[in-house]
Each structure stands twice: as structure tokens, then as C-alpha cells.
């Protein structure tokens, strides 16, 4: 059986499960008694095992199988969660991740059997068994609690299905008109690949002869192949039991079909009728789920892992779409916007414009804007997928570095363009590691002396700010020692003594972003190889973002990453320089000023203006862009004030054309030297206009 076509889905889902396991095991560490967490972990490990098995990754399957065993014992109360166990589990996850990475690269899981890990898992199991024997109180609890369900766990699985009142009454009614209720348990052959399809055929065959009241797992779950080997039906039918069994067994790849007449009195929810009522009153599904989980009996287990009733979060209805298809869609929308812009400019030229025409153009404009927004939204994903791996990382760092620290995150739901989200993980990881290693004080007493709690805090906050998304990594540690950085820079020859004397604190701190600049006194595996911050900076800049750091010695540092919400379409101000048109991103513009030429002063041979008390350097765009113009300087200059962080500059342009939505196009790889041009756009008349990168001008 060729399963390679499922490889992508397998990888995607495995990664999701691993992430989920990571999060849940972290939760488990914090709250070892939480049965919901244990169940969730069990389910994830179980699905992983199943998937790895289907795909033929034996080693992965073995490892997950042993993990699953451990969880199953934990769930049954035979093993208590120990810190050492959590460590082993995390190592297992790392090993699984390694398998996954191998599979992704070579479609093969590799040859690492991870025997030590499996041994450790088995030791845990044995330890658990030993304890269970020593404390038999836990074990016997199981059979008693699940006595009723216990019998259902045998051949008559249908008796384990929780029927609600309507279903019970339907069965009772049917009994009165001579129909019989049967329970059927259908086992699918283990080698069967398309289990869902087989199950569907069984459903169809049975439905021809009767009515399916309920199935376990639910029909939806069966359709999604969320069952292991067998599923159970309760059927109302005029036909004889044998006929039904034959019909079901006739479907190929069905192993066997067990069936019997359903006796209502034996079913799970029948006799404790009052029980059903109480649960119905108190938050029905959830309470029911908990009730089930409280029975650590084997039969209850069957119910639990196959039918995660109320515990399972409602899954969003999603479709996986190839990002390239979205790119095509996006390009088409871009084209549409360009076409719309041409219409707008064409209508502007006609003097005798007719009202209907204008109306239609306005309509088109609103449609394209909406279309653009929705396409953008499709491309947006929450940064959660990236940041959710960080708590685990900080936990490991905390152990490695032997520092106590906690990570607090907020704004995980903040959305960014998919391409940006994919790229942002590494820089964030660098910054967090940096905070953990260099930021937080190594000596807890020093923290106490400074009036800070012993446990260091690292914060990761994300939020939207206008057309930008801001991600902040903050710690309450030592802060950046400006003097140490300055000395290091001089020592390394990065700057001279004289330069150092003239540099502001901020400029010194910015030196940290230079390649191979690390002030860590010794190299650790966490950080200190001096490859971190310059990589962070270049990565962020390649995403058209920027990174800034603010720090106070003794109080901590804040790293701020600012990223554009969208990379493709922006609002821009069109300006004229000489006879060329340029676009400036609206987000970078602070204001537009009319300046008298006499207001320009010279400071250190540079032209500046004094704008309401702030001295701002002036850049003459004609000179910068090498434009020769016959036009003499006028008395009044149009100055566009651009800002980046707290830096400002005034750009002298010849004229303003107004605001426009522009589609950013790359200039291609052939043109790369020009620093202050960030791209090009196509205007309504088909001409190309260049986009000025205000950030590069400052």
C-alpha cells in the first residue's frame, strides 16, 4: 500500500499532536491531578501511535505505544505523576520530533530506536505496577466503580453506549410495533486502510434493513476515521438478527460482526434514569464526560478514548489550502485593484463625467477593498502556532541554566500574514533565550536584593497597533550594561575610544545587533555565540519589520519587534519629485508641512528645520534621487515628515498627488543595490512608480 500521498497530512497532524502533547504535559507538570489533561494526553499519544502505525513508522509507533501505556496507567490511577516522569516524557517528545523531522526530510524515520527512553518508560510502568501492588486500594477501586460497565466491556459493547431519553423512548416505542432493537459490534480488519469507507458501507447495508439509532463512536467520528478497529451500532429493524449480521459481514475487509438483541435494562443509562436527569440539569455534556472519566474501568476507557464527549473542544471547520493557491488569488486581487485604479484615474480626467459611471466606480472600489480584506484575512494566522512552543522551551532553559523563571504570554491570538508567522519563530526564540540567559540574573539573591521576586519573569506580549503588529519580549532581569557593551566594542575594535565617547546609550545598545557581537563572558549552549541578535535583526528586516531595544540597568530590558500587518497592499502617499512619481507608505508618515525656505537652518553642515520645538534633519529628495530639474527652488517647500520609532526626518518633495492604495511589487533580484527603494507599484495609468523606504532614509 502506497501511503506517500498521506505523508503531508501525517506530518501536519503529527506536528499538531506533538504541540498539543507539549502543552498538555506542561499543564500536567503544573497540575498533576488534572484528569482532563491526562485524558487529552492519552488521546493525543493514541492518535500518534495509530497514525505512525498506518504510515509504517515502526520505531515511532513503538515509542508512542510505550508512552501511551504510561498514560493509561496514570489515568487508571496506578502511577502518580512524578517530576522525573515529566522529564522522560519531554525527552520522548523530543525523540518523536526528531522522527518527524527525519520523515519530513527523507520520508524515513531514521534508525534511532531510542531504547534508553523506552526502557525508562517501562521502568516507570514497572514502578507504577509495584506501587499499585503496594497500595492495592487504587486497583480494586476500578472494578467496583465500573462494575456495570465492566460487563458491557465484554462482547456486548452496545450496552456501554449512553442512550439519552429520546433514544430510549424510541426503542421502547419500536418494541411496541414489533420492531426489534439489536446491538451490533463490527470489527474491521487491522490491515484495512480505508476504514471510514468500509464503515460507511456497513452503515449503508444496515440502514437498508433498519434504522440506526446511535453508533459509538459517533457517525461523524467514524466518517473522520476516529475509531480504532471496531465500532458499535444500535439498530431498530424488522429483520432478523442474522440477516443484519450477514449484511454487515458481507462488506469486504470486515473482520467479524457480533450482534444480539438489545436489552434495554442492560444498557448504560437505562436503569439509573435519575442519573441522566441530574447530568442533564448540570451542564449536561461536560458533567457526563466527567462522570465517565471518573470510572477508571476498562470499559469506560473504551468509551473515553473513542468518544471524547464533552472534553473535546469544538473544532473549527477548516480547509487546508496550498499557500500558492492563495498567492495566486492575492495576485488576482492585486490586478483587480490596479484595474480599479485605472478606472478611477480615467474617470477623473473626463470632465463631463456622468453620475452613473461614478457610482459604479465607487461600487467597484468598495468591492475590491472588501475582497482584498477578506483575501488578506484568509492568509492571516494567529501567532499562537509559533509561540505555543515557547513555554516548553523556557522550562527546559530554566533547568539547563539552573535559574528560576516563568514565561507569561499574552496576545497569542494576534494574527499575522502566514508567511510572516512562519519566519518569526526563530527571531523570537533567540530573543527569549537571550532574555533567559543574559537578561535574568544568575544569582537569585541579587534579585532579592534588588527587590524583585526570586523567580525571574519573561513576558511575551503581542498586539496590533494600527497597521503593525507589535511583539514584545520583556524580562525583569539585569538590563543591558551599557558600559560593558561599550568596553567590549572598544576591545573588539568595533568602535574607537573617540567614537565611543560620542555615542549615546541607545547607539551603544544598537551595537548589540552587529554580527558577532556577544558580551556573554562564557559561551553556553543557550546563547553567547554571537549569532543571535544580528540574525534577529536581519530576519525581521527581511520581513519589512524593525526591532528595537529599551533597557534599564538593574530593571530589565524590552525588545520590541514591529511588523507590518500585510506585505502586499498598503496605503501610500504619492509624491512628485522632479517629474517622477514616488510612493511613501502612509504608516511611516507623521505629517506634511509647508516650510519657508528661510526656515531651513544649517547645523553641523546638515540642513535641519525646527518643527514645533523638535529639530528634524531635512533631506532634499531631488538631490538624493539624482534628479536634475530645471525648476528653481520655490519659497515654499513641501516637506513630508516621516518617522521611525522616535527618529524623524523631513523629505522635501515638489508636489503631493494624494493618498492611494498601492500594490507592492518586487523590483526583482536584478535590482538590489538601491537602499532606499523598497519596491515598485503600478499606477492607474500603467506606469511604474517606486516606493521610497522611509526607514532606510532615517
Amino acid at each position: 500500500m502506497d501511503v506517500s500521498q498521506y505523508l503531508e497530512i501525517f506530518l501536519d497532524e503529527t506536528k499538531e499532536h506533538l504541540q498539543n502533547l507539549n502543552t498538555q504535559i506542561l499543564n500536567l507538570e503544573a497540575d498533576a491531578e488534572n484528569m482532563d489533561t491526562v485524558n487529552e494526553i492519552f488521546r493525543a499519544a493514541h492518535s500518534l501511535k495509530g497514525m505512525a502505525g498506518t504510515m509504517g513508522y515502526k520505531r515511532m509507533q513503538n515509542l508512542t505505544h510505550d508512552m501511551e501505556n504510561v498514560f493509561s496507567e496514570v489515568r487508571n490511577g496506578n502511577i502518580k505523576v512524578q517530576p522525573e516522569m515529566i522529564d522522560v516524557l519531554f525527552q520522548c517528545l523530543d525523540a518523536l520530533e526528531e522522527y518527524t523531522n527525519n520523515i519530513q526530510e527523507t520520508a524515513d524515520e531514521g534508525t534511532n530506536d531510542n531504547e534508553p527512553l523506552i526502557k525508562q518508560l517501562n521502568d516507570i510502568l514497572k514502578g507504577g505496577a509495584g506501587k499499585a501492588a503496594a497500595a492495592p486500594a487504587a486497583a480494586p477501586a476500578a472494578p467496583t466503580a465500573g462494575a456495570a460497565a465492566g460487563s458491557a466491556g465484554g462482547d456486548k459493547k452496545w450496552n456501554g453506549i449512553a442512550l439519552d431519553e429520546t433514544q430510549i423512548s424510541v426503542i421502547e416505542e419500536a418494541g411496541k410495533v414489533g420492531k426489534k432493537a439489536y446491538g451490533l459490534t463490527v470489527s474491521v480488519q487491522e490491515s484495512c486502510i480505508l476504514k471510514a469507507a468500509r464503515a460507511f458501507l456497513v452503515f449503508k447495508a444496515v440502514e437498508e434493513r433498519g434504522e440506526i439509532i446511535i453508533s459509538d463512536p459517533s457517525a461523524q467520528d467514524i466518517e473522520d476515521e476516529k475509531f480504532e478497529k471496531d465500532f458499535t451500532l444500535i439498530v431498530l429493524s424488522d429483520a432478523e438478527l442474522d440477516e443484519l449480521i450477514k449484511a454487515a459481514a458481507n462488506v469486504s475487509e470486515i473482520d467479524n460482526v457480533v450482534g444480539d438483541v438489545l436489552v434495554l435494562a442492560e444498557t448504560k443509562n437505562y436503569h439509573p434514569a435519575e442519573n441522566a436527569e441530574t447530568t442533564a440539569v448540570v451542564e449536561a455534556p461536560k458533567a457526563a464526560a466527567e462522570e465517565k472519566k471518573a470510572q477508571p474501568a476498562p470499559a469506560a476507557k473504551n468509551n473515553n478514548d473513542k468518544k471524547p464527549a464533552g472534553g473535546k473542544p469544538v473544532v473549527n471547520r477548516t480547509v487546508r489550502v496550498d499557500i500558492e493557491k492563495l498567492d495566486v488569488l492575492m495576485n488576482l486581487v492585486s490586478e483587480l485593484i490596479i484595474a480599479k485604479n485605472s478606472l478611477v484615474s480615467a474617470s477623473g480626467q473626463e470632465q463631463n463625467t456622468n453620475a452613473g459611471f461614478n457610482e459604479q466606480i465607487e461600487y467597484l472600489e468598495s468591492v475590491t477593498t472588501n475582497l482584498h480584506e477578506s483575501v488578506m484575512k484568509v492568509r492571516m494566522v494567529p501567532i499562537e502556532s509559533v509561540v505555543s512552543k515557547f513555554p516548553r522551551m523556557i522550562r527546559d532553559l530554566s533547568k539547563n541554566l539552573n535559574k528560576k523563571m516563568e514565561l507569561y504570554m499574552s496576545g497569542e491570538e494576534t494574527e499575522l500574514d502566514r508567511t510572516v508567522v512562519d519566519e518569526i519563530g526563530d527571531p523570537l526564540m533567540h530573543l527569549l533565550r537571550n532574555s533567559a540567559d543574559h537578561g535574568l540574573e544568575t544569582d537569585p539573591e541579587l534579585r532579592v536584593q534588588r527587590g524583585k521576586p526570586e523567580v525571574g519573569s519573561i513576558f511575551l506580549d503581542a498586539y496590533q497597533d494600527g497597521n503593525n503588529v507589535v511583539i514584545e519580549v520583556r524580562d525583569d532581569g539585569n538590563g543591558i550594561d551599557v558600559d560593558a557593551v561599550r568596553n567590549k566594542a572598544i576591545e573588539r575594535g568595533t568602535i574607537t575610544m573617540e567614537q565611543a565617547a560620542g555615542m549615546s546609550e541607545k547607539e551603544i545598545i544598537d551595537l548589540l545587533f552587529l554580527p558577532s557581537f556577544s558580551t556573554a563572558k562564557k559561551v553556553t549552549d543557550v546563547s553567547g555565540r554571537g549569532v543571535g541578535l544580528d540574525v534577529v535583526k536581519s530576519k525581521i528586516e527581511s520581513l519589512s519589520g524593525e526591532v528595537e531595544v529599551k533597557s534599564k540597568l538593574g530593571e530589565g530590558s524590552t525588545w520590541t519587534i514591529r511588523l507590518p500587518l500585510t506585505l502586499a497592499i498598503i496605503q501610500a502617499l504619492m509624491v512628485v519629485v522632479g517629474d517622477e512619481k514616488y510612493a511613501i507608505a502612509l504608516g511611516a508618515i507623521q505629517g506634511i508641512e509647508d516650510i519657508q525656505i528661510s526656515d531651513i537652518k544649517l547645523v553641523e553642515n546638515k540642513e535641519v528645520i525646527n518643527l514645533r520645538g523638535t529639530v528634524i534633519p531635512v533631506i532634499r529628495m531631488r538631490e538624493l534621487l539624482d534628479i536634475e530639474s530645471s525648476k528653481a527652488d520655490e519659497e515654499n517647500l513641501v516637506v513630508v515628515i516621516v518617522k521611525k520609532g522616535d527618529k524623524q526626518a523631513g523629505l522635501v518633495v515638489d508636489d503631493l498627488l494624494g493618498q492611494q492604495e498601492i500594490v507592492i511589487k518586487s523590483l526583482g533580484s536584478y535590482i538590489k543595490q538601491c537602499k532606499f527603494i523598497s519596491g515598485a507599484t503600478i499606477l492607474g495609468d500603467g506606469e511604474v512608480a517606486l516606493i521610497l523606504d522611509a526607514n532606510a532614509l532615517l
Binding site: I671, V688, L690
Partner: protein, 167 residues
């Protein structure tokens, strides 16, 4: 593309070469004019031929890089091969065209030519390879000489034209 087809058709009526479909031995070149000289451009590298249009200058670029144009929503850099080869600057006229080349390294790229004349099919025994040796600037842009009837056509080495010397 339409123009190309027209040229193709013209070519066939003029010469009606029955064997032009055999790609192993025959190569097709578009003959262009730069000043008084004729050059051949390998047709496999040509994406499109468009009329001269307004080129948007990109500041701080070497003079041979004329700027960028909009080709059906795509921004494409345009190079003057005249300037690149050290010939006098282009004078745009009615016959001036921009040939859009497909390059592997730098994507699509336009070159300005004075005129597009015709498509010729040359068999490989009519093509003489030229080795790059001389320091002569212009020779290094040519990788062969083709004989088409009585005419000689210098075959442009597109790699050396599209290669960015500042890169």
C-alpha cells in the same frame, strides 16, 4: 507574441525551410539591429517583444540599467545593451523595441534594441563559436557568428548581458 508569430510566418514565406522543426540541428534566432550592426538573440530565451514604453528610472543604478517597466502587472527591469556594450546611448525611434528575456538567475529582464528584423533558422554548421579571450569589451558579449545567406549575424551571449557585473 503575436509579433513573433507574424515574424515566423514572414520567415517561412521568405525561406520556406522545410526542416525547421528539427531542434537538434537547427537554432532559431531573432535578428535585431543595434546601430548599423545585426545581432541574433536565441529565441528560446525570449518571452516577449514589446513596443518602447515609458521606463521608470531607478535612482543610484549604473547607467546601462535604464529602469523598470510594467509588463502585464509585473515590474521588469530594462537594460540598455548599447550602454552595456559601450556603444553610444540609445535613441528611441518608431522601431525601438524592448525584448523581454527569460533568465534563470534574475527572472525576466528587458533589453532595448533599435529594431527587430526577422526570425532566422540557422543550422549548427552555419554557426561558428567564438571563444572569450580578447579584453575587447564588445567581443565578450558575443558567443558565436552565424551565417545567414550572405549576411553575418553576431550571436549575443545572453548570460554576459544579463549578468549583473556589480553582483
Amino acid at each position: 507574441m503575436e509579433q513573433l508569430e507574424q515574424l515566423n510566418a514572414q520567415n517561412e514565406t521568405v525561406k520556406s525551410n522545410p526542416e525547421r522543426k528539427r531542434p537538434v540541428e537547427y537554432f532559431q534566432y531573432i535578428v535585431i539591429r543595434l546601430g548599423e550592426e545585426q545581432y541574433g538573440v536565441d529565441i528560446r530565451y525570449i518571452d516577449n517583444i514589446v513596443r518602447m514604453q515609458n521606463i521608470t528610472r531607478v535612482p543610484k543604478m549604473p547607467p546601462y540599467l535604464k529602469g523598470v517597466i510594467n509588463l502585464r502587472g509585473e515590474v521588469i527591469p530594462v537594460v540598455s545593451i548599447r550602454l552595456k556594450m559601450g556603444l553610444p546611448a540609445d535613441e528611441y525611434g518608431r522601431a525601438t523595441r524592448i525584448i523581454i528575456l527569460k533568465t534563470e538567475v534574475s527572472g525576466n529582464l528587458g533589453i532595448v534594441v533599435d529594431e527587430v528584423k526577422e526570425v532566422v533558422t540557422l543550422s549548427d554548421d552555419n554557426i561558428e563559436k567564438v571563444a572569450h579571450e580578447a579584453k575587447d569589451n564588445r567581443a565578450s558579449f558575443i558567443n558565436g557568428i552565424g551565417k545567414n545567406g550572405g549576411e553575418l549575424i553576431s550571436l549575443l551571449d545572453l548570460n554576459s548581458i544579463t549578468l549583473d557585473e556589480n553582483a
